[in-house]
Subunit: 307 residues, 2 copies
């Protein structure tokens, strides 16, 4: 039973206070698939690239066991390119350029063998494309959705339709506030869950993440990093680790979702330690589990009884 | 063996989006002493008020078993007054007025019986007054210090002397950044610990708190509140719960400090649920311990082994 991953594939030009790289592997599908590949298989990737997409990137994805039957390679086309610059505090980034190229006419076609997928993750792309993916699936049972402020502002109607079919929405704190016009995140979470998602994850960058269900809240710490080299893809790697773990254990109770949030946080922490996808290209299960344990040590405390 | 609490006592006029109160009980000493009083005794309060200080506030402090031999009441004097207004998101506040009154010439005199205190908490007052307190103590062994951006900007030299004698510094994230000119809190914490404090606590409001030692970091969650009525005093109540718990158990290992951070967070959460000191006037140990357990449920997750 496949894990279906849909989203963007990009060539990123990224400048941070530490370094600059050009045409590095990027895009939501890429980070999600790579992160998920350490937990489970098969991972079916759906995406689009141009003829200029470097063969070594194809090889990298294949080396991670990612099924590329759903990857469209447009003859003569150019791959989606994004250029961004991070400021000193790494929380603010400017988009320098966006060249949609082949991504402009992306029509995600789900291969027949992937239409039976029950676990689906809709990376951050236009909500109408996310809807189009869902329409092609025979019986999706666990849909994880990512989105961004652009779609909240320009495609809210379609986004609301996606949310009605979403089991877990993953967004960041500013997006949660934008979507609800509510500053308090606990209130915002209540409102967003009314829009459809049974579970909501609010990512807070250096402050960790919150997981909400009807009755429960889980607060996950952030991994304490002195050096964040490149924040690009952290949110996608989080999503990949999250759904990868759940697809692996096939358990969807709140305790499992909490662990999945930590595994997602672990994958995000590996991602930001290096540029582009470098931080999640050469990991192993032991390293990932070790980091999970580090997260536990970071937030664990015991009750010593009465004072 | 007394717990010595030094700081300000004020009459606060506070406006939030929810309500407005005038001349309510406030000040760092007040919140710290009240919060600590649920954990331990004797609590010796050092502070100054004017003749206008309401007798019912004296009574409130005495009802909590707080020793007021170190409270100076200036005949004909007026109590320190502070007026502030919180904005919609409750993270930003404007100071509307500050009337120092008797606080302007505050010379903290430690009664002889209190000079033997080993546990001392220096609430947020001018660093030279904090130094003057330390000079009067015979053998302080555990000094917890609070400060603020004003003293970092205007009295850094004295503040650095205080830090050299401080075991635990409690500040918020913006103060940590200001003190070090370093955005990354993990790096900032390292620098601040080099200034003297063995332990550092960085409070992050709605994002919880971080506790740093030489080898360890502990990430405490924030209590998920839908309604924050009045943030005034939350940091002081945190400090009071923190040192009150430690003074009670007389253990200063990292595991105990972690629990103390949670008890501090619990007291802060009670504080912001009501105006002024109302939220920490009528609690009991069971309620406080129940909230400690809620914090544990909020952040607890288990390792289910390999994935």
């Amino acid at each position: 039973m496949a894990l279906l991953v849909v989203g963007s594939i990009a060539l990123d030009t990224v400048e941070t206070p530490f370094d600059k790289i050009e045409n590095a592997l990027g895009g939501s599908t890429t980070y999600i698939s790579l992160a998920a590949s350490y937990f489970t298989s098969p991972v079916h990737l759906i995406g689009i690239v141009g003829e200029d997409f470097n063969e070594k990137y194809i090889q990298l994805l294949e080396d991670h066991g990612i099924d590329l039957d759903g990857l469209q390679i447009v003859p003569g086309g150019k791959t989606f390119r994004w250029g961004g610059k991070y400021h000193y505090d790494l929380n603010i980034r400017d988009t320098i350029f966006t060249e949609l190229n082949v991504f402009e006419n992306f029509n995600p076609v789900i291969p027949e063998k992937s239409q039976k997928a029950k676990f689906v993750i809709l990376g951050n792309i236009q909500p109408n494309l996310q809807l189009h993916v869902l329409e092609q699936l025979l019986n999706p049972q666990f849909v994880v959705t990512d989105t961004m402020n652009l779609w909240i502002e320009t495609a809210l109607e379609d986004l609301m339709k996606v949310l009605k079919q979403t089991n877990v929405l993953i967004i960041n704190d500013s997006e949660a506030r934008l979507l609800t016009n509510e500053h308090n995140l606990i209130r915002a979470a209540k409102e967003i869950r009314k829009m459809g998602p049974e579970y909501l994850i609010i990512k807070k960058g250096e402050h960790g993440a919150l997981l909400f269900s009807e009755d429960n809240i889980f607060s996950a710490p952030a991994y304490p990093l002195e050096d964040i080299f490149d924040p690009t893809g952290a949110g996608d790697a989080f999503a990949g680790g999250f759904i990868g773990y759940l697809h692996s254990v096939r358990e969807l109770d709140f305790e499992s979702l909490k662990r999945a949030v930590i595994y997602g946080s672990a994958m995000a922490s590996f991602t930001v330690e290096k540029f582009s996808t470098k931080g999640i290209e050469d990991l192993n299960k032991l390293q990932i589990h070790d980091r999970f344990i580090e997260f536990r040590e970071l937030s664990r405390f015991d009750d010593a009884g009465k004072f």
